[in-house]
């Protein structure tokens, strides 16, 4: 009941967070990685001493790399990104970056993606996003077709979408911030994380709405909007623990993945974590209170 009673406080909290995320997104944007933009990415590991970035960049320039940058990573590595590195140079990269034998470099990973493949992946990503959202919309419309009083069924769908938008903006905004401060780039895994968050978030929201629907049915057919507030609050109480617990178990396994798992999936784990926390928060503190707000508003209108 607390959440439903003080829903405007929660609206403000969510509003602030969403605005911050949106701001980060608009200000800094998402840097596309080579999966989407094409290009070359190389991971170099140094045994012993690691040369300064300036030296590495100089060597890259001499090799004929185009639009390149080298970022230090961890204790002994550099992540190099370039629009292009000539093929011949690619083969002798470790040698060139050993800087005349002063340092000992090995190439641990090299990826080169042609622009046409990158562009294709971008297209596919947007289509996948569209398909998932369309699928979710269809699913909600179907699942809630029988509920109509005091809030019509399509409102449930709209509110679920609103919660969904929040659940996507927050991790994407966080990702934009990470991109700005830590040079994190969006790759295919980023898209995967976003799509997974979508699937998870809708599931969470539906569980609460399911309860509301069930309680509405149990309470009979006619409800004033005050009663609806009570029903919504009760449904929230019943499902709150379950929502939080499920997210907690997922969050806990993601934490294990972040701290103990492979380096390549760390950002993936972090993005998922933020998205799932946002998703739970929106199901509890945004979606259900919004139902009450809409019900009240509809009630006032019919007076």
């Amino acid at each position: 009941m607390i959440i439903v009673k003080y829903r405007f406080v929660f609206y403000s909290i969510i509003g602030v967070i969403t605005a911050l995320a949106l701001g980060a997104l608009l200000l800094w944007g998402i840097k596309p990685g080579i999966d989407f933009a094409g290009g070359v990415q190389v991971e170099i590991r140094y045994e012993g001493e690691r040369p300064a970035a300036a030296l590495v960049n100089e060597a890259l320039g001499k090799l004929g790399a185009v639009e390149y940058s080298a970022r230090p990573s961890g204790d002994a590595e550099y992540i190099i990104r370039a629009h292009d590195i000539p093929e011949g140079a690619q083969a002798s990269l470790a040698e060139a970056l050993s800087l005349n034998g002063e340092y000992s470099a090995t190439v641990t990973q090299l990826t080169q993606i042609g622009p046409s493949i990158g562009a294709e992946l971008q297209q596919k990503a947007f289509i996948a996003l569209f398909l998932v959202i369309a699928g979710i919309l269809a699913f909600i419309t179907f699942a809630f077709r029988n509920v109509s009083r005091p809030v019509p069924s399509w409102i449930y769908g709209i509110i679920a979408i609103v919660a969904l938008i929040h659940d996507v903006i927050v991790p994407v905004g966080a990702f934009a911030a990470m991109g700005h401060f830590f040079g994190v780039q969006a790759d295919a895994l980023f898209m995967t994380a976003i799509l997974t968050i979508l699937g998870f978030s809708i599931h969470d929201t539906i569980v609460v709405f399911d309860r509301v629907r069930e309680n509405l049915r149990l309470a009979g057919d006619h409800h004033s909007h005050q009663e609806f507030e009570g029903i919504a609050g009760k449904s929230l109480n019943q499902t709150f623990v379950r929502s939080v617990n499920t997210s907690l178990t997922v969050a806990v396994s993601l934490l294990a993945l972040y701290f103990f798992g492979p380096v390549s999936t760390q950002i993936f784990a972090l993005t998922l974590l933020i998205g799932i926390v946002a998703g739970t928060f929106s199901s509890i503190a945004l979606a259900t209170p919004l139902l009450v707000t809409v019900a009240n508003w509809l009630g006032k209108r019919s007076k």
Binding site: M1, I2, E43, E87, Q90, T106, V107, T108, Q109, L110, T111, Q112, I113, G114, S116, I117, Q123, K124, I127, A128, V132, G135, I136, F139, A188, L189, M191, T192, L195, T196, L198, G199, F200, I202, H203, I206, V207, D210, N237, F240, R242, N245, T246, L248, T249, V250, A251, V252, S253, L254, A256, L257, F259, G261, P262, V263, S264, T265, L272, I284
Partner: protein
């Protein structure tokens, strides 16, 4: 009651069996886990095939021949379990033709690229001289190419055959289809020039004297004995029917792969521990049941990975760990219902039955949305993403099964008298929150 206890025992034994199977087959190397490139290290190459010059549009046939040729070449390279596949780019397969070459364990990418790059492209084209003098002569593809080549050999010209004696030549022998095609082309076009293109360059352009029906052709043209022999050898490994262009490479060092695998396993282990601790603390006895069901789930997943087999990538392992958290979800749904039913005064047995029945709808709905997402991800993704999507999908399916069969059986077997305080404590959960 005994029946239920027996059933529970059966479930536990099945679990132990699966565990033993996974362990022994891994150490005995029977159907070992298939590791993706990012865990085993290796090279991944994507080539674009230029099919524009193909006559008659037998693109599929040419792509198959391309695949076979490259695979033969790669096998000669001594790679264990290489993967050579054709693929159509574009959103729905309307785009360019591609060839994917995956070489696990091969980290000298440049060498691999060179080796593949050495495969000759052999094409036969007719020179068409136009009527008017203003436009230049063009070459028209005949459809005869390296894919019909059966064998190539070094030969030395016999004296008196119209060539310099002892000039090194490469003699080509076509396979039956090629023989027929060659006979047809030479039969219909006597008097015209049939140019032989090697790697896009005209290497020789003899005039067709008569129909050649024995399926033999000779390439002559400034060879030294060494170059002719080398060409014959290369041709014998297969000549490509279409030119190919490298568009994408990925090399992953094997140490990076090993590290990623080790860390993945460690994360999986800790993830399991964390989730189990939480479930035990919050749900107590049912939590223990959930933990056992979770272990069964992991074992079942590993067995499925072996049997299908699923190629494990770093993202796939991430998917498995993510699914650990989600697998308990079904259990949580059931336990929450269980708590409600117990609070309403039902006996543990009744509460368990009702709890499962009523939670099932929620479980089903939530898993459907996850599966839809997984299917879309599978379609959209790079091989890395596909690994995640498959693991995720299988995970959702199997978690439903283990939660409903294993958890239920184990819970039902624990028949305690509700009146004792200990039972109430063990079966209740957490603390009460009012929100």
């Amino acid at each position: 009651m005994l029946q239920k206890r027996l059933l529970a025992l059966v479930v536990l034994m099945v679990g132990a069996l699966i565990g033993w199977f996974v362990y022994s087959s891994q150490s005995g190397m029977w159907r070992p886990f298939v590791l993706g490139l990012d865990l085993s290290g290796g090279t991944h190459l994507v080539y674009r095939a230029d099919t524009s010059g193909l006559a008659g549009g037998d693109v599929r046939g040419a792509m198959e021949a391309l695949r076979d040729t490259i695979e033969r070449r790669v096998n000669h390279f001594g790679v264990s379990e290489p993967i050579v596949q054709t693929e159509r780019g574009g959103l729905t397969g309307q785009g360019e033709e591609r060839l994917i070459v995956e070489l696990p364990g091969v980290t000298d990418t440049q060498k691999a690229i060179d080796l593949i790059g050495q495969t000759p492209v052999l094409e036969f084209k007719l020179l068409v001289v136009p009527e008017s003098a203003s436009s230049s002569a063009t070459y028209v593809s005949t459809g005869l190419s390296g894919r019909y080549l059966e064998k190539a050999a070094l030969q030395f010209a016999q004296s008196g055959s119209g060539q310099l004696s002892n000039e090194p030549l490469v003699a080509l022998t076509f396979n039956p289809e090629g023989k027929a095609l060659f006979a047809k082309i030479t039969g219909e076009n006597t008097g015209k020039e049939l140019a032989i293109f090697l790697d896009g360059q005209v290497i020789s352009s003899p005039v067709i004297q008569e129909a050649i029906t024995d399926g033999n052709a000779i390439i002559s043209g400034s060879f030294t004995p060494d170059t002719a022999k080398e060409l014959a050898q290369n041709l014998n490994f297969g000549a490509l029917p279409v030119p190919i262009e490298l568009v994408s490479t990925q090399t992953i060092g094997s140490t990076l792969g090993d590290e990623a695998l080790a860390r993945g396993v460690s994360a999986g282990f800790w993830g399991l521990i964390f989730v189990s601790i939480f479930m035990l603390l919050w749900y107590r006895l049912p939590g223990l049941v959930a933990t056992i069901a979770l272990v069964l789930y992991v074992l079942a997943m590993l067995m499925v990975f072996k049997l299908i087999p699923v190629t494990l990538t770093a993202a796939g392992i991430a998917g498995l760990i993510l699914s650990l958290g989600m697998a308990v979800d079904a259990n949580i749904l059931i336990f929450e219902r269980l708590r409600e039913e117990l609070a309403a005064g039902k006996s543990p047995q009744d509460a368990i039955h009702t709890g499962f029945a009523r939670a099932w709808l929620s479980i089903r709905d939530s898993n459907i949305s996850s599966m839809i997402t997984a299917i879309i991800l599978f379609w959209f993704g790079t091989p890395l993403v596909k690994g995640f999507a498959l693991v995720f999908f299988v995970g959702v399916l199997i978690s439903m099964i283990t939660a409903i069969t294993a958890s239920r059986t184990l819970l039902l077997a624990l028949d305690f008298d509700r009146r004792h305080g200990i039972t109430r404590f063990l079966f209740s959960s957490g603390t009460k929150f009012r929100v």
